[in-house]
Protein backbone atom coordinates (compact mmCIF):
# COMPACT_ATOMS: atom_id res chain seq x y z
CA UNK A 1 0.00 0.00 0.00
CA UNK A 2 1.17 3.47 -0.80
CA UNK A 3 1.53 5.85 2.11
CA UNK A 4 -1.41 8.25 2.50
CA UNK A 5 -0.57 11.72 1.31
CA UNK A 6 -2.14 14.77 2.91
CA UNK A 7 -4.17 15.25 -0.30
CA UNK A 8 -5.72 11.82 0.09
CA UNK A 9 -6.71 12.64 3.66
CA UNK A 10 -8.18 15.96 2.55
CA UNK A 11 -10.02 14.28 -0.29
CA UNK A 12 -11.47 11.66 2.06
CA UNK A 13 -12.75 14.29 4.46
CA UNK A 14 -14.10 16.57 1.73
CA UNK A 15 -15.92 13.79 -0.09
CA UNK A 16 -17.42 12.54 3.17
CA UNK A 17 -18.83 16.01 3.77
CA UNK A 18 -20.21 16.10 0.21
CA UNK A 19 -21.84 12.68 0.52
CA UNK A 20 -23.38 13.53 3.90
CA UNK A 21 -24.65 16.85 2.60
CA UNK A 22 -26.35 15.18 -0.35
CA UNK A 23 -27.74 12.12 1.46
CA UNK A 24 -28.69 13.47 4.90
CA UNK A 25 -31.71 15.55 3.74
CA UNK A 26 -33.10 12.55 1.88
CA UNK A 27 -32.62 10.31 4.93
CA UNK A 28 -34.35 12.97 7.02
CA UNK A 29 -37.30 13.01 4.64
CA UNK A 30 -37.68 9.22 4.69
CA UNK A 31 -37.26 9.13 8.50
CA UNK A 32 -39.97 11.77 8.96
CA UNK A 33 -42.32 9.72 6.81
CA UNK A 34 -42.16 6.96 9.46
CA UNK A 35 -42.79 9.32 12.38
CA UNK A 36 -45.99 10.46 14.01
CA UNK A 37 -46.57 14.21 13.80
CA UNK A 38 -45.83 14.42 17.52
CA UNK A 39 -42.40 12.87 16.98
CA UNK A 40 -41.66 15.17 14.04
CA UNK A 41 -42.22 18.12 16.37
CA UNK A 42 -39.89 16.65 19.02
CA UNK A 43 -36.17 17.39 18.45
CA UNK A 44 -35.29 14.66 20.98
CA UNK A 45 -36.76 12.06 18.65
CA UNK A 46 -34.68 13.14 15.65
CA UNK A 47 -33.34 9.66 14.99
CA UNK A 48 -34.57 7.57 17.94
CA UNK A 49 -38.28 7.06 17.35
CA UNK A 50 -40.77 4.24 17.10
CA UNK A 51 -41.49 3.89 13.37
CA UNK A 52 -45.10 3.95 12.25
CA UNK A 53 -46.74 3.13 8.94
CA UNK A 54 -49.72 5.38 9.69
CA UNK A 55 -48.56 8.07 7.25
CA UNK A 56 -48.32 5.58 4.43
CA UNK A 57 -51.76 4.28 5.27
CA UNK A 58 -53.05 7.86 5.00
CA UNK A 59 -51.27 8.44 1.72
CA UNK A 60 -52.23 5.20 0.01
CA UNK A 61 -55.79 4.84 1.33
CA UNK A 62 -57.33 8.15 2.35
CA UNK A 63 -55.43 10.31 -0.13
CA UNK A 64 -56.08 7.99 -3.05
CA UNK A 65 -52.42 7.74 -3.99
CA UNK A 66 -52.77 4.34 -5.64
CA UNK A 67 -54.75 6.12 -8.35
CA UNK A 68 -52.18 8.93 -8.69
CA UNK A 69 -49.32 6.44 -8.85
CA UNK A 70 -51.10 4.69 -11.72
CA UNK A 71 -51.74 8.08 -13.40
CA UNK A 72 -48.06 9.01 -13.17
CA UNK A 73 -46.96 5.61 -14.42
CA UNK A 74 -49.34 5.70 -17.37
CA UNK A 75 -48.49 9.25 -18.44
CA UNK A 76 -44.72 8.74 -18.10
CA UNK A 77 -44.86 5.37 -19.86
CA UNK A 78 -47.03 6.56 -22.74
CA UNK A 79 -45.05 9.77 -23.21
CA UNK A 80 -41.79 7.81 -23.24
CA UNK A 81 -42.96 5.18 -25.73
CA UNK A 82 -44.47 7.80 -28.04
CA UNK A 83 -41.35 9.95 -27.81
CA UNK A 84 -39.16 6.98 -28.71
CA UNK A 85 -41.37 6.07 -31.69
CA UNK A 86 -41.25 9.64 -33.02
CA UNK A 87 -37.81 10.60 -31.78
CA UNK A 88 -35.55 7.67 -32.69
CA UNK A 89 -36.15 7.75 -36.48
CA UNK A 90 -36.04 11.55 -36.44
CA UNK A 91 -32.71 11.54 -34.61
CA UNK A 92 -31.44 9.00 -37.14
CA UNK A 93 -32.34 11.24 -40.08
CA UNK A 94 -30.93 14.30 -38.36
CA UNK A 95 -27.68 12.52 -37.63
CA UNK A 96 -27.20 10.80 -41.01
CA UNK A 97 -28.34 13.72 -43.16
CA UNK A 98 -26.77 16.31 -40.87
CA UNK A 99 -30.03 18.21 -40.43
CA UNK A 100 -28.65 20.56 -37.76
CA UNK A 101 -31.26 23.28 -38.33
CA UNK A 102 -34.13 20.85 -37.82
CA UNK A 103 -32.39 19.57 -34.71
CA UNK A 104 -32.18 23.13 -33.45
CA UNK A 105 -35.96 23.52 -33.72
CA UNK A 106 -36.47 20.40 -31.62
CA UNK A 107 -33.93 21.60 -29.09
CA UNK A 108 -35.74 24.96 -28.85
CA UNK A 109 -38.31 22.99 -26.88
CA UNK A 110 -35.71 22.64 -24.14
CA UNK A 111 -35.00 26.35 -24.01
CA UNK A 112 -38.44 27.88 -24.08
CA UNK A 113 -40.22 28.41 -20.73
CA UNK A 114 -43.13 26.00 -20.40
CA UNK A 115 -45.58 28.69 -19.30
CA UNK A 116 -45.30 30.53 -22.61
CA UNK A 117 -46.68 27.46 -24.38
CA UNK A 118 -49.16 26.53 -21.69
CA UNK A 119 -51.36 29.56 -22.33
CA UNK A 120 -51.99 28.76 -26.02
CA UNK A 121 -52.20 25.03 -25.26
CA UNK A 122 -54.76 25.80 -22.60
CA UNK A 123 -56.75 27.89 -25.13
CA UNK A 124 -56.72 25.16 -27.76
CA UNK A 125 -57.21 22.15 -25.53
CA UNK A 126 -59.99 23.68 -23.46
CA UNK A 127 -61.84 24.52 -26.65
CA UNK A 128 -61.34 20.89 -27.72
CA UNK A 129 -62.62 19.87 -24.25
CA UNK A 130 -59.40 17.92 -23.73
CA UNK A 131 -58.12 19.66 -20.59
CA UNK A 132 -58.18 17.23 -17.70
CA UNK A 133 -57.79 14.16 -19.90
CA UNK A 134 -54.82 11.84 -20.23
CA UNK A 135 -54.34 12.66 -23.91
CA UNK A 136 -53.34 16.25 -23.31
CA UNK A 137 -51.12 15.27 -20.36
CA UNK A 138 -49.26 12.72 -22.46
CA UNK A 139 -48.85 15.21 -25.30
CA UNK A 140 -47.50 17.88 -22.94
CA UNK A 141 -45.08 15.44 -21.31
CA UNK A 142 -43.92 14.33 -24.75
CA UNK A 143 -42.91 17.90 -25.27
CA UNK A 144 -40.38 17.36 -22.48
CA UNK A 145 -39.27 13.85 -23.41
CA UNK A 146 -39.15 14.06 -27.21
CA UNK A 147 -36.35 16.69 -27.35
CA UNK A 148 -34.47 14.62 -24.80
CA UNK A 149 -34.80 11.49 -26.95
CA UNK A 150 -33.73 13.34 -30.10
CA UNK A 151 -30.78 14.96 -28.33
CA UNK A 152 -29.49 11.71 -26.82
CA UNK A 153 -30.12 9.56 -29.91
CA UNK A 154 -28.48 12.04 -32.28
CA UNK A 155 -25.32 11.79 -30.26
CA UNK A 156 -25.63 8.02 -30.27
CA UNK A 157 -26.16 7.70 -34.03
CA UNK A 158 -23.29 10.14 -34.66
CA UNK A 159 -21.00 7.72 -32.87
CA UNK A 160 -22.30 4.64 -34.70
CA UNK A 161 -20.12 3.85 -37.75
CA UNK A 162 -21.96 4.05 -41.07
CA UNK A 163 -19.91 1.23 -42.59
CA UNK A 164 -22.16 -1.34 -40.95
CA UNK A 165 -25.21 -0.01 -42.79
CA UNK A 166 -23.30 0.23 -46.05
CA UNK A 167 -22.34 -3.42 -45.70
CA UNK A 168 -26.02 -4.27 -45.25
CA UNK A 169 -26.88 -2.31 -48.41
CA UNK A 170 -24.36 -4.32 -50.38
CA UNK A 171 -26.07 -7.44 -49.06
CA UNK A 172 -29.32 -6.25 -50.65
CA UNK A 173 -31.15 -4.59 -47.79
CA UNK A 174 -32.97 -1.32 -48.37
CA UNK A 175 -31.92 1.76 -46.39
CA UNK A 176 -34.98 1.40 -44.20
CA UNK A 177 -34.27 -2.31 -43.81
CA UNK A 178 -30.69 -1.58 -42.79
CA UNK A 179 -31.95 0.89 -40.21
CA UNK A 180 -34.43 -1.63 -38.85
CA UNK A 181 -32.25 -4.72 -38.83
CA UNK A 182 -28.75 -3.35 -38.26
CA UNK A 183 -28.86 0.12 -36.72
CA UNK A 184 -31.77 -0.32 -34.31
CA UNK A 185 -30.46 -3.51 -32.66
CA UNK A 186 -27.08 -1.82 -32.25
CA UNK A 187 -28.78 1.20 -30.69
CA UNK A 188 -30.41 -0.62 -27.78
CA UNK A 189 -28.08 0.96 -25.17
CA UNK A 190 -28.80 4.42 -26.58
CA UNK A 191 -32.54 3.78 -26.71
CA UNK A 192 -32.43 2.52 -23.13
CA UNK A 193 -30.64 5.68 -22.04
CA UNK A 194 -33.12 7.91 -23.87
CA UNK A 195 -36.10 5.94 -22.56
CA UNK A 196 -34.96 6.01 -18.93
CA UNK A 197 -34.18 9.72 -18.99
CA UNK A 198 -37.46 10.50 -20.69
CA UNK A 199 -39.36 8.46 -18.09
CA UNK A 200 -37.62 10.22 -15.19
CA UNK A 201 -38.24 13.70 -16.59
CA UNK A 202 -41.87 12.94 -17.34
CA UNK A 203 -42.41 11.41 -13.89
CA UNK A 204 -40.89 14.50 -12.25
CA UNK A 205 -42.71 17.06 -14.38
CA UNK A 206 -44.94 19.32 -12.40
CA UNK A 207 -46.04 22.44 -14.25
CA UNK A 208 -47.82 20.86 -17.20
CA UNK A 209 -49.84 18.52 -15.01
CA UNK A 210 -50.60 21.39 -12.62
CA UNK A 211 -52.48 23.20 -15.38
CA UNK A 212 -53.70 20.40 -17.63
CA UNK A 213 -54.82 17.66 -15.23
CA UNK A 214 -57.93 17.44 -13.10
CA UNK A 215 -58.82 15.64 -9.86
CA UNK A 216 -58.99 12.25 -11.60
CA UNK A 217 -55.97 12.49 -13.86
CA UNK A 218 -53.50 14.37 -11.68
CA UNK A 219 -50.01 12.99 -11.39
CA UNK A 220 -47.97 12.49 -8.21
CA UNK A 221 -46.07 15.80 -8.18
CA UNK A 222 -49.41 17.64 -8.25
CA UNK A 223 -50.98 15.30 -5.70
CA UNK A 224 -48.24 16.18 -3.18
CA UNK A 225 -50.00 19.49 -2.64
CA UNK A 226 -53.03 17.69 -1.17
CA UNK A 227 -51.05 17.59 2.08
CA UNK A 228 -50.42 21.31 2.20
CA UNK A 229 -53.33 23.18 3.73
CA UNK A 230 -53.73 26.92 4.13
CA UNK A 231 -53.54 26.76 7.92
CA UNK A 232 -51.45 23.71 8.62
CA UNK A 233 -49.35 21.01 7.03
CA UNK A 234 -49.63 17.29 7.79
CA UNK A 235 -45.87 16.84 7.84
CA UNK A 236 -45.94 13.08 8.35
CA UNK A 237 -48.34 12.57 5.46
CA UNK A 238 -46.46 15.05 3.30
CA UNK A 239 -43.12 13.33 3.83
CA UNK A 240 -44.70 9.93 3.14
CA UNK A 241 -46.11 11.41 -0.07
CA UNK A 242 -42.77 12.88 -1.16
CA UNK A 243 -41.11 9.54 -0.35
CA UNK A 244 -43.66 7.69 -2.46
CA UNK A 245 -42.92 10.07 -5.36
CA UNK A 246 -39.12 10.17 -5.17
CA UNK A 247 -38.04 6.81 -3.78
CA UNK A 248 -39.11 4.65 -6.77
CA UNK A 249 -37.36 6.94 -9.23
CA UNK A 250 -34.20 7.03 -7.10
CA UNK A 251 -34.15 3.23 -6.79
CA UNK A 252 -34.65 2.82 -10.55
CA UNK A 253 -31.89 5.36 -11.20
CA UNK A 254 -29.49 3.40 -9.00
CA UNK A 255 -30.09 0.20 -10.92
CA UNK A 256 -29.51 1.86 -14.26
CA UNK A 257 -26.99 4.41 -13.02
CA UNK A 258 -24.70 4.01 -16.04
CA UNK A 259 -27.50 4.91 -18.47
CA UNK A 260 -28.75 7.84 -16.42
CA UNK A 261 -25.29 9.37 -16.20
CA UNK A 262 -24.58 8.90 -19.90
CA UNK A 263 -27.96 10.44 -20.74
CA UNK A 264 -27.51 13.44 -18.49
CA UNK A 265 -24.05 14.14 -19.84
CA UNK A 266 -24.90 13.36 -23.49
CA UNK A 267 -23.25 15.76 -25.86
CA UNK A 268 -21.47 17.62 -23.08
CA UNK A 269 -17.97 16.59 -24.04
CA UNK A 270 -18.28 17.23 -27.74
CA UNK A 271 -18.23 20.97 -27.10
Amino acid sequence: MRPRTSYQVFRGVALTVVVLGLIAPLVWMVAASFKTNVDIYDPGKALAFVPTLANYATVLQQANYIEFILNSLWVAFAATVASLILGVPAAYSMSRFNMRKSALVVLMARVIPGVSLLVPWFYVFSNLKMVGGFGVLIISHMFVSLPLVVYIMMGYFDSLPEELEEAALVDGLTHVGAFRRITLPLSVPGIATAGILSFIFSWNNFMFALVLSDADTKTLPVAIFDFVGYASIDWGGLMAATTVVTLPIMVIALFVQKYVVSGLTAGATKG
Binding site: L15, A90, S93, V106, A109, L117, T265
Partner: protein, 313 residues
Protein backbone atom coordinates in the same frame (compact mmCIF):
# COMPACT_ATOMS: atom_id res chain seq x y z
CA UNK B 1 -19.71 13.30 -39.08
CA UNK B 2 -22.51 11.82 -41.07
CA UNK B 3 -22.55 13.78 -44.28
CA UNK B 4 -22.11 11.25 -47.07
CA UNK B 5 -25.17 9.11 -47.16
CA UNK B 6 -26.33 9.09 -50.73
CA UNK B 7 -23.31 7.44 -52.29
CA UNK B 8 -25.49 4.80 -53.90
CA UNK B 9 -28.02 6.10 -56.43
CA UNK B 10 -31.60 6.11 -55.12
CA UNK B 11 -33.03 2.65 -54.92
CA UNK B 12 -29.84 1.05 -56.13
CA UNK B 13 -29.41 -0.77 -52.87
CA UNK B 14 -32.73 -2.48 -53.09
CA UNK B 15 -33.03 -5.71 -55.01
CA UNK B 16 -35.33 -5.83 -58.03
CA UNK B 17 -37.78 -7.72 -55.82
CA UNK B 18 -38.35 -4.67 -53.64
CA UNK B 19 -41.91 -3.41 -54.17
CA UNK B 20 -42.41 0.07 -55.53
CA UNK B 21 -43.82 1.62 -52.37
CA UNK B 22 -40.83 0.37 -50.39
CA UNK B 23 -38.52 2.03 -52.91
CA UNK B 24 -40.47 5.25 -52.53
CA UNK B 25 -40.24 5.05 -48.74
CA UNK B 26 -36.55 4.30 -48.97
CA UNK B 27 -35.92 7.22 -51.28
CA UNK B 28 -37.80 9.71 -49.11
CA UNK B 29 -36.64 8.31 -45.78
CA UNK B 30 -34.87 11.50 -44.77
CA UNK B 31 -38.13 13.42 -44.37
CA UNK B 32 -40.38 10.46 -43.61
CA UNK B 33 -38.24 9.71 -40.56
CA UNK B 34 -37.98 13.28 -39.40
CA UNK B 35 -41.44 14.58 -40.29
CA UNK B 36 -43.57 13.12 -37.44
CA UNK B 37 -41.31 14.48 -34.71
CA UNK B 38 -40.82 17.79 -36.51
CA UNK B 39 -44.56 18.21 -37.04
CA UNK B 40 -45.24 17.43 -33.41
CA UNK B 41 -42.73 19.94 -32.12
CA UNK B 42 -43.72 22.59 -34.64
CA UNK B 43 -47.41 22.21 -33.81
CA UNK B 44 -46.76 22.50 -30.10
CA UNK B 45 -44.01 25.07 -30.26
CA UNK B 46 -44.03 27.44 -33.21
CA UNK B 47 -47.75 27.94 -33.53
CA UNK B 48 -48.30 28.48 -29.77
CA UNK B 49 -45.34 30.82 -29.61
CA UNK B 50 -46.82 32.88 -32.42
CA UNK B 51 -50.13 32.88 -30.58
CA UNK B 52 -48.46 34.06 -27.38
CA UNK B 53 -46.90 36.82 -29.44
CA UNK B 54 -50.34 37.77 -30.75
CA UNK B 55 -51.99 37.58 -27.30
CA UNK B 56 -49.35 39.93 -25.95
CA UNK B 57 -50.82 42.59 -28.25
CA UNK B 58 -54.37 42.07 -26.99
CA UNK B 59 -56.30 42.70 -23.80
CA UNK B 60 -57.27 39.01 -23.47
CA UNK B 61 -58.36 38.14 -19.94
CA UNK B 62 -60.89 36.16 -17.96
CA UNK B 63 -62.12 33.18 -19.94
CA UNK B 64 -60.31 31.56 -22.85
CA UNK B 65 -63.52 31.98 -24.84
CA UNK B 66 -63.92 35.67 -24.06
CA UNK B 67 -63.61 38.27 -26.81
CA UNK B 68 -60.38 40.23 -26.87
CA UNK B 69 -59.30 43.38 -28.59
CA UNK B 70 -56.07 44.28 -30.32
CA UNK B 71 -54.41 47.02 -28.29
CA UNK B 72 -50.99 47.27 -29.92
CA UNK B 73 -48.00 47.71 -27.68
CA UNK B 74 -49.93 48.95 -24.64
CA UNK B 75 -49.19 45.79 -22.61
CA UNK B 76 -45.50 46.21 -23.32
CA UNK B 77 -45.63 49.80 -22.17
CA UNK B 78 -47.49 48.78 -18.99
CA UNK B 79 -45.19 45.89 -18.21
CA UNK B 80 -41.95 47.72 -18.91
CA UNK B 81 -42.98 50.60 -16.63
CA UNK B 82 -44.19 48.26 -13.89
CA UNK B 83 -41.78 48.71 -10.99
CA UNK B 84 -44.05 46.89 -8.52
CA UNK B 85 -43.96 43.38 -9.93
CA UNK B 86 -42.17 43.10 -13.30
CA UNK B 87 -38.78 44.68 -12.61
CA UNK B 88 -38.44 43.14 -9.15
CA UNK B 89 -39.21 39.79 -10.79
CA UNK B 90 -36.51 40.44 -13.39
CA UNK B 91 -34.09 41.26 -10.57
CA UNK B 92 -34.98 38.11 -8.65
CA UNK B 93 -34.65 35.96 -11.76
CA UNK B 94 -31.20 37.42 -12.44
CA UNK B 95 -30.09 37.09 -8.80
CA UNK B 96 -31.38 33.54 -8.54
CA UNK B 97 -29.71 32.46 -11.78
CA UNK B 98 -26.37 34.19 -11.32
CA UNK B 99 -25.87 33.26 -7.65
CA UNK B 100 -27.09 29.67 -8.07
CA UNK B 101 -24.95 29.22 -11.18
CA UNK B 102 -21.89 30.65 -9.44
CA UNK B 103 -22.16 28.25 -6.52
CA UNK B 104 -23.03 25.31 -8.74
CA UNK B 105 -20.06 25.86 -11.04
CA UNK B 106 -17.50 26.45 -8.28
CA UNK B 107 -18.74 23.60 -6.07
CA UNK B 108 -19.32 21.37 -9.11
CA UNK B 109 -15.78 21.95 -10.34
CA UNK B 110 -14.33 21.29 -6.88
CA UNK B 111 -16.28 18.06 -6.44
CA UNK B 112 -15.51 16.89 -9.99
CA UNK B 113 -11.78 17.44 -9.37
CA UNK B 114 -12.04 15.48 -6.11
CA UNK B 115 -13.71 12.61 -7.96
CA UNK B 116 -11.43 12.72 -10.96
CA UNK B 117 -8.83 10.08 -10.00
CA UNK B 118 -10.08 6.61 -9.05
CA UNK B 119 -10.29 5.79 -5.34
CA UNK B 120 -11.85 3.33 -2.94
CA UNK B 121 -15.53 3.95 -2.32
CA UNK B 122 -15.97 5.88 -5.58
CA UNK B 123 -19.17 3.97 -6.26
CA UNK B 124 -20.83 5.36 -3.16
CA UNK B 125 -19.93 8.93 -3.90
CA UNK B 126 -21.33 8.56 -7.40
CA UNK B 127 -24.59 7.21 -5.99
CA UNK B 128 -24.82 10.19 -3.62
CA UNK B 129 -24.21 12.58 -6.50
CA UNK B 130 -26.93 11.00 -8.61
CA UNK B 131 -29.76 10.92 -6.04
CA UNK B 132 -30.63 14.65 -5.75
CA UNK B 133 -30.61 14.91 -9.55
CA UNK B 134 -33.32 12.35 -10.18
CA UNK B 135 -35.47 13.32 -7.19
CA UNK B 136 -38.76 15.04 -8.09
CA UNK B 137 -38.16 18.81 -7.70
CA UNK B 138 -41.53 19.47 -6.05
CA UNK B 139 -40.79 16.75 -3.49
CA UNK B 140 -37.32 18.22 -2.94
CA UNK B 141 -38.94 21.58 -2.23
CA UNK B 142 -41.29 20.00 0.32
CA UNK B 143 -38.42 18.11 1.93
CA UNK B 144 -36.45 21.33 2.47
CA UNK B 145 -39.58 23.06 3.64
CA UNK B 146 -39.65 20.65 6.60
CA UNK B 147 -35.91 20.99 7.25
CA UNK B 148 -36.09 24.80 7.09
CA UNK B 149 -39.27 25.09 9.12
CA UNK B 150 -38.51 27.85 11.67
CA UNK B 151 -40.08 25.98 14.59
CA UNK B 152 -39.57 22.27 14.02
CA UNK B 153 -36.92 22.18 11.29
CA UNK B 154 -33.56 20.45 11.50
CA UNK B 155 -31.76 23.54 10.21
CA UNK B 156 -32.55 25.69 13.24
CA UNK B 157 -31.86 22.81 15.60
CA UNK B 158 -28.42 22.39 14.03
CA UNK B 159 -27.79 26.13 14.37
CA UNK B 160 -28.77 25.81 18.04
CA UNK B 161 -26.05 23.19 18.60
CA UNK B 162 -23.39 25.67 17.52
CA UNK B 163 -24.98 28.52 19.46
CA UNK B 164 -26.55 30.47 16.61
CA UNK B 165 -30.11 31.75 17.02
CA UNK B 166 -32.97 30.47 14.86
CA UNK B 167 -33.36 31.88 11.35
CA UNK B 168 -36.65 32.40 9.48
CA UNK B 169 -35.28 30.71 6.30
CA UNK B 170 -38.10 30.31 3.76
CA UNK B 171 -40.50 32.28 5.95
CA UNK B 172 -38.35 35.42 6.06
CA UNK B 173 -38.88 38.24 3.59
CA UNK B 174 -35.15 38.59 2.96
CA UNK B 175 -34.00 35.04 3.63
CA UNK B 176 -36.49 33.25 1.36
CA UNK B 177 -34.71 33.87 -1.95
CA UNK B 178 -31.25 32.84 -0.64
CA UNK B 179 -32.83 29.71 0.86
CA UNK B 180 -34.42 28.71 -2.45
CA UNK B 181 -31.07 29.32 -4.12
CA UNK B 182 -29.53 26.94 -1.59
CA UNK B 183 -32.12 24.29 -2.51
CA UNK B 184 -31.38 24.74 -6.21
CA UNK B 185 -27.65 24.42 -5.52
CA UNK B 186 -28.24 21.25 -3.51
CA UNK B 187 -30.26 19.64 -6.27
CA UNK B 188 -28.33 20.74 -9.35
CA UNK B 189 -24.65 20.97 -8.38
CA UNK B 190 -24.54 17.19 -9.05
CA UNK B 191 -25.52 17.91 -12.66
CA UNK B 192 -22.48 20.15 -13.09
CA UNK B 193 -20.33 17.52 -11.35
CA UNK B 194 -21.44 14.80 -13.79
CA UNK B 195 -20.90 16.94 -16.88
CA UNK B 196 -17.48 18.20 -15.75
CA UNK B 197 -16.46 14.72 -14.69
CA UNK B 198 -17.33 13.41 -18.15
CA UNK B 199 -15.20 16.22 -19.57
CA UNK B 200 -12.27 15.55 -17.22
CA UNK B 201 -12.31 11.84 -17.95
CA UNK B 202 -12.08 12.50 -21.69
CA UNK B 203 -9.00 14.74 -21.32
CA UNK B 204 -5.73 13.28 -22.47
CA UNK B 205 -3.03 12.68 -19.88
CA UNK B 206 -0.14 14.06 -21.90
CA UNK B 207 -0.51 17.81 -21.23
CA UNK B 208 -0.81 17.00 -17.52
CA UNK B 209 2.38 14.94 -17.63
CA UNK B 210 4.25 17.59 -19.58
CA UNK B 211 3.24 20.28 -17.10
CA UNK B 212 4.26 18.07 -14.21
CA UNK B 213 7.70 17.43 -15.73
CA UNK B 214 8.07 21.18 -16.24
CA UNK B 215 7.57 21.55 -12.51
CA UNK B 216 4.14 23.18 -12.56
CA UNK B 217 2.37 23.24 -9.19
CA UNK B 218 -1.06 21.67 -8.71
CA UNK B 219 -2.74 25.06 -8.95
CA UNK B 220 -0.74 26.03 -12.05
CA UNK B 221 -1.66 22.75 -13.71
CA UNK B 222 -5.32 23.36 -12.99
CA UNK B 223 -5.24 27.01 -14.02
CA UNK B 224 -3.17 26.69 -17.20
CA UNK B 225 -3.74 23.11 -18.37
CA UNK B 226 -6.94 21.53 -17.04
CA UNK B 227 -9.19 24.59 -17.04
CA UNK B 228 -8.50 25.74 -20.63
CA UNK B 229 -8.95 22.20 -21.93
CA UNK B 230 -12.16 21.85 -19.96
CA UNK B 231 -13.57 25.19 -21.13
CA UNK B 232 -15.90 23.80 -23.86
CA UNK B 233 -17.44 21.34 -21.39
CA UNK B 234 -17.73 24.04 -18.77
CA UNK B 235 -19.58 26.27 -21.24
CA UNK B 236 -22.04 23.48 -22.00
CA UNK B 237 -22.61 22.96 -18.28
CA UNK B 238 -23.18 26.68 -17.70
CA UNK B 239 -25.51 26.91 -20.70
CA UNK B 240 -27.63 23.90 -19.69
CA UNK B 241 -27.80 24.86 -16.02
CA UNK B 242 -28.30 28.55 -16.78
CA UNK B 243 -31.32 27.93 -19.00
CA UNK B 244 -32.91 25.68 -16.38
CA UNK B 245 -32.10 28.07 -13.52
CA UNK B 246 -33.76 30.97 -15.38
CA UNK B 247 -36.88 28.82 -15.75
CA UNK B 248 -36.94 27.51 -12.16
CA UNK B 249 -40.53 27.01 -11.09
CA UNK B 250 -41.12 23.77 -9.20
CA UNK B 251 -39.09 24.41 -6.04
CA UNK B 252 -40.30 28.02 -5.83
CA UNK B 253 -43.93 26.96 -6.11
CA UNK B 254 -43.44 24.07 -3.68
CA UNK B 255 -41.74 26.18 -1.01
CA UNK B 256 -43.59 29.49 -1.30
CA UNK B 257 -46.81 28.72 -3.15
CA UNK B 258 -48.60 31.11 -5.49
CA UNK B 259 -47.09 34.48 -6.34
CA UNK B 260 -43.77 33.59 -4.72
CA UNK B 261 -45.02 34.21 -1.16
CA UNK B 262 -47.09 36.95 0.46
CA UNK B 263 -44.49 39.64 -0.33
CA UNK B 264 -43.63 38.04 -3.71
CA UNK B 265 -40.21 37.41 -2.16
CA UNK B 266 -39.31 34.59 -4.56
CA UNK B 267 -41.44 35.71 -7.49
CA UNK B 268 -39.25 35.22 -10.54
CA UNK B 269 -40.41 35.95 -14.10
CA UNK B 270 -41.58 32.37 -14.58
CA UNK B 271 -43.59 32.39 -11.33
CA UNK B 272 -44.98 35.83 -12.15
CA UNK B 273 -46.06 34.79 -15.64
CA UNK B 274 -47.61 31.60 -14.31
CA UNK B 275 -49.61 33.55 -11.72
CA UNK B 276 -50.79 36.09 -14.30
CA UNK B 277 -51.92 33.30 -16.61
CA UNK B 278 -53.50 30.76 -14.33
CA UNK B 279 -54.29 32.51 -11.05
CA UNK B 280 -55.53 35.82 -12.52
CA UNK B 281 -56.30 34.77 -16.13
CA UNK B 282 -54.59 37.93 -17.42
CA UNK B 283 -53.62 36.22 -20.67
CA UNK B 284 -52.66 39.39 -22.54
CA UNK B 285 -50.33 40.78 -19.90
CA UNK B 286 -48.87 37.37 -19.07
CA UNK B 287 -48.08 36.80 -22.76
CA UNK B 288 -46.23 40.11 -22.80
CA UNK B 289 -44.18 39.07 -19.75
CA UNK B 290 -43.48 35.71 -21.40
CA UNK B 291 -42.31 37.23 -24.66
CA UNK B 292 -39.98 39.55 -22.75
CA UNK B 293 -38.80 36.59 -20.63
CA UNK B 294 -38.13 34.57 -23.76
CA UNK B 295 -36.12 37.43 -25.23
CA UNK B 296 -34.07 37.59 -22.02
CA UNK B 297 -33.32 33.85 -22.24
CA UNK B 298 -32.32 34.07 -25.90
CA UNK B 299 -30.20 37.13 -25.13
CA UNK B 300 -28.41 35.39 -22.28
CA UNK B 301 -27.73 32.33 -24.45
CA UNK B 302 -26.49 34.48 -27.28
CA UNK B 303 -24.18 36.44 -25.01
CA UNK B 304 -22.76 33.24 -23.59
CA UNK B 305 -22.19 31.48 -26.92
CA UNK B 306 -20.60 34.49 -28.65
CA UNK B 307 -18.34 35.03 -25.65
CA UNK B 308 -17.35 31.41 -25.95
CA UNK B 309 -16.54 31.77 -29.64
CA UNK B 310 -14.44 34.85 -28.92
CA UNK B 311 -12.64 32.97 -26.17
CA UNK B 312 -11.85 30.15 -28.60
CA UNK B 313 -10.44 32.47 -31.21
Amino acid sequence: MATTTTKAPPGAAATPATPGWARWVDHHRKWLFAAPAMTFVAALLIFPLAWTGYLSLTDAEGSVRAESEFIGLRNYLDVLTDVERFWPAVGRTATFTVVALLFEVVLGMAIALLLWRPFKGERWVRVAVLLPLVATPVAVGMMWRLIFDPNIGLANQALGWVGIGPQPWLAGQHTALPTTIFIDVWQWTPMVVLILLAGLTSLSEEPQEAARIDGASTWQRFRHVTLPLLMPTLTVAILLRGIDALKTFDILYATKGRGGGSFHEVETLNVYAYGLSFDYNEYGVSSTVLILFFLIIIGAMWALTTRRKEAQR
